[in-house]
Subunit: 271 residues, 2 copies
């Protein structure tokens, strides 16, 4: 099902700035057991993104009602994607202030992943495609995703579940569709996302849980070497939850106790 | 008029990767006196961009016929925009190889600019929004244009016609919608676009003309200081042609002989 500005419709005007310039934001939400998980966190991040891009989106109540209407039609678990764009109009890159932002809500069947992924871990690769750095776009989930597209299309080996991406200084930042954490001497470390990368909802949830439960957690630049010498590595996002990393190319990693604890905690979290 | 994959239609499926990820390219072509100017150069750059992004677009003859059909309906000068996206489909960022690229051709009335711009020059400002650097995306005219959107929306003073953008090392790269040249001691200098920026059609035309006419032209990193101490400055693109820069903030520049010669040469060029 697709709602465009509240209307059942799967098309959008080609003048929309989302298409013309990638001028917008998105959220990908897991709908499981009748619940749109971490919905408040997703909507909060979406609004924060609008503010960062100066998109004057204020119809959060209308969006909420439309989301409800999409969810009510779902008979099974699903993935819900929200896109907010700056709307149609303006003279080239310039956006007049009277442009109405566009709301697009779509539901999609859950992609099925091997059951072994959360239990035994995944194989990941190191992407050649790097992430550019720009603090004005870092952290938010905007629609300019060519770097992720190019990175994800470096491989078609179905045994590789994710690729890790690095910034211009060779620090690991994130996976193509996930955030990354490492465990080193019982400390939890995750890359800063102030110059590149997305500030993921599950990433934030894990950091908060760790702080509340006496697990040291730090956001810092993580070099390739720190990644390779980690005790445990995992990736996470709103749809997959937490997947341990069992292999980076030919390097093997154990699915360790910290990762397992965090998986357990996430499973038991109120969503 | 809008043609989407050859059909008169002004909407596109929201699943199109152009909207979802900015996964595509565009060209903006001046249609003047019955001629789509520099059409071969635009189509060549478009194909080069497709190759860089591994978009398997091959329907160049169909695109050409569709362009003809759009042009035949025009009774006045216009701007023609072509968008090619990777098409609809794939699993997330991953694009299966059987996806059909989308072709979108739209025509727009020419924007009217003050007659003084090409003659007396324009006021420009220095944008705070920087350009990120990534050689994999530099040079091509892809759809990830948030940096330009943010830069262009830093001002709404109608007396400022363009903003100049800098890379992460404070080198000037381009305008929000134009390339930039400076003249220093009768040499023509323009920023490299191998890490950021678009390799403009008029930029290339000017460089070629200069080489053929004994004017020294060099692509190099240009610092803020080199910009400020230039003898002449101008910006260019396919729609505006060449606009001298008369002011950068409070700094004034003369509309000099090299710029005037290049304007004359462009006006007389076969397009």
């Amino acid at each position: 099902m697709v709602l465009v500005n509240g209307v059942t419709e799967n098309r959008i005007n080609i003048a929309d700035r989302g298409l013309q310039y990638g001028d917008g934001l998105f959220e990908t939400i897991a709908y499981r057991n009748g619940v749109a998980e971490f919905l408040d966190a997703h909507l909060t991040r979406l609004l924060k993104g609008c503010k960062r891009l100066a998109i004057p989106f204020q119809d959060i109540e209308i969006l909420g009602a439309e989301l409800n209407s999409v969810c009510h039609q779902l008979s099974d678990d699903a993935v819900i994607k929200i896109i907010i764009t700056r709307g149609s109009g303006g003279r080239g890159y310039f956006a007049e202030s009277n442009i109405e932002p566009s709301r697009i809500i779509s539901s999609h069947p859950c992609q099925t992943y091997p059951e072994s992924y959360p239990r035994s871990g995944i194989r990941v690769r190191l992407c050649k495609q790097t992430l550019s750095e720009n603090s004005s776009l870092a952290g938010i989930k905007h629609l300019n995703r060519l770097e992720q597209v190019l990175a994800r299309n470096e491989w078609d080996d179905v045994d590789i579940a994710e690729g890790l991406m690095f910034d211009q200084d060779n620090n690991v930042i994130e996976g193509t569709m996930s955030n990354v954490f490492i465990v080193k001497e019982n400390q939890l470390l995750t890359p800063k996302v102030d110059k590149a990368g997305v500030a993921g909802i599950i990433r934030a949830h894990i950091c908060k849980w760790a702080q509340q439960n006496g697990l040291v957690v730090e956001e810092k630049n993580l070099s390739r070497d720190e990644l390779f010498t980690a005790d445990e590595i995992f990736v996470c996002n709103s749809v997959i939850g937490i997947w341990p990393v069992s292999n980076i190319d030919n390097r093997a990693y154990a699915v360790g106790p910290v990762t397992k604890n965090l998986q357990q905690a996430l499973a038991e979290s109120e969503k």
